[in-house]
C-alpha cells in the first residue's frame, strides 16, 4: 500500500495541492472558474497546516474512524487498503471527527457528510502529488513490519 509522504522543508506554502484537490475531487464542475461559484463551496481534502505541512488522511493501520463509525459509513477498500467515506449513508454524527488522531476529517455541514482524503482511490495518481511544484509531496510504499497491537498485520494490499 502506498501513502503520501510530506517534506516540510520543500513546501513553499503555495497551496497548489489544496486548490487542485478542491477542483478535481471536491467540485462537481472539475474546472476552476465554475468551481469558484459552486454552492455549496467545494471542500479540499488536504490542508496546509502550520506554515508548511500539507496534511492528508494517513489511512491508519488501526483506523479509529472506522472503529468509531456507528453504521459502517467509514470503510476500508479491501483491495487497496484505503479508508474512504461512503457518502450516501453518512448521518453526520461526527464520531469519526471525534477520534481522528490527525484532525483531518472535515465535518461538512453543507454537504451533511464527513469529508476526508481517499488518496484519489478512483484515479490513477493522487492529484496533490501530481501538481506539487516542489515535490514536497511524494507517493511511497508503506513501511513493512508495522505494528498492529504488537503484530505485523497480514495485508492483502
Amino acid at each position: 500500500m502506498k501513502v503520501i509522504k510530506v517534506d516540510p522543508e520543500k513546501c513553499t506554502q503555495c497551496h497548489t495541492c489544496d486548490l487542485w484537490c478542491g477542483i478535481e475531487i471536491g467540485s462537481t464542475a472539475k474546472e476552476l472558474n465554475e468551481a469558484m461559484h459552486e454552492n455549496p463551496q467545494p471542500v479540499p481534502r488536504v490542508h496546509v497546516e502550520g506554515n508548511n505541512f500539507p496534511l492528508h488522511c494517513r489511512h491508519c493501520e488501526v483506523a479509529p474512524c472506522i472503529d468509531a463509525c456507528p453504521n459502517g459509513t467509514m470503510r476500508r477498500d479491501p483491495q487497496t487498503g484505503l479508508v474512504y467515506v461512503h457518502e450516501p449513508t453518512c448521518i453526520a454524527c461526527w464520531m469519526c471527527v471525534m477520534v481522528c488522531p490527525f484532525g483531518i476529517i472535515a465535518p461538512s455541514a453543507s454537504f451533511h457528510t464527513a469529508v476526508k482524503c481517499d488518496r484519489c482511490r478512483n484515479m490513477e495518481y493522487p492529484i496533490c502529488v501530481d501538481v506539487c511544484p516542489t515535490k514536497a509531496l511524494v507517493l511511497e510504499e508503506r513501511e513493512e513490519g508495522a505494528t498492529w497491537y504488537g503484530y505485523a498485520p497480514k495485508r492483502s494490499f
Binding site: 501513502v3 509522504k5 510530506v6 517534506d7 516540510p8 522543508e9 490542508h47 497546516e49 502550520g50 506554515n51 508548511n52 505541512f53 496534511l55 494517513r58 489511512h59 491508519c60 493501520e61 488501526v62 479509529p64 472503529d67 468509531a68 456507528p70 453526520a92 454524527c93 461526527w94 464520531m95 471527527v97 471525534m98 477520534v99 481522528c100 488522531p101 490527525f102 484532525g103 483531518i104 476529517i105 472535515a106 465535518p107 455541514a109 511524494v138 511511497e140 508503506r142 513501511e143 508495522a146 505494528t147 497491537y149 504488537g150 503484530y151
Partner: protein, 172 residues
Amino acid sequence: MRTNLPDIYVAGDVAETYDLSTGKMGVNAIWPCAFEQGRVAGLNMAGREAKYGGSFRMNSLDFYGLPVISMGITRIDGNGFQEFRRKTENIYRKLVLRDGCIVGAILVGEVQKAGILTTLLKKRVGVSDHIPLLLSSKINFADLLPLMKQNRERFTEVEYRELSQRPLASRT
C-alpha cells in the same frame, strides 16, 4: 480482554475497564470503546497476546447544526484539576487538566480538531506548555509536532513514522 475468571473474555457494555481520565475502573458503554475491546478480546482468545490501553467516555452530537463533542471528565469535583475555557459568539471550548495532562474537554461549534485532543488524552501527553494553542481555533497537528517529538515513545504507530519523508527528529 481477559477477565479474572479463566477462559472468560469480555468486551463492550458489560466490560469494566480502566478509565484513562478518572484513573479508576468503570464501565464506558460506548461504541468506539466496544469495538476496540472486541478486537483485543478476539486477539487474546485466538492466542495472540494483545493489551488494551484503557477507555474513556466521549460522545459527539449534532444539535440541529450545532456540533458538540465532549470527552473524559467535564465537571470538576475535588482538587488537583485545572480548567481552561474560551468562549466566543459561536464557539465554546473547555479543557480539564490534571497533572499537566488532558483528562477532559468540551467542544461546541467548532469540532474539526477534536480528535487531536482525544489522542492527547488517550496517550496521556503533558500539554501544560501548549494551552493557548489547544484552546484556539488555529489548533492543528503540524503545530503540535514538537510535542509529539518530546513524547516520541508514545507515538509509535506507523502513521506517525511515515508522515514525513525525513525522520521527524532531523527537523527543526
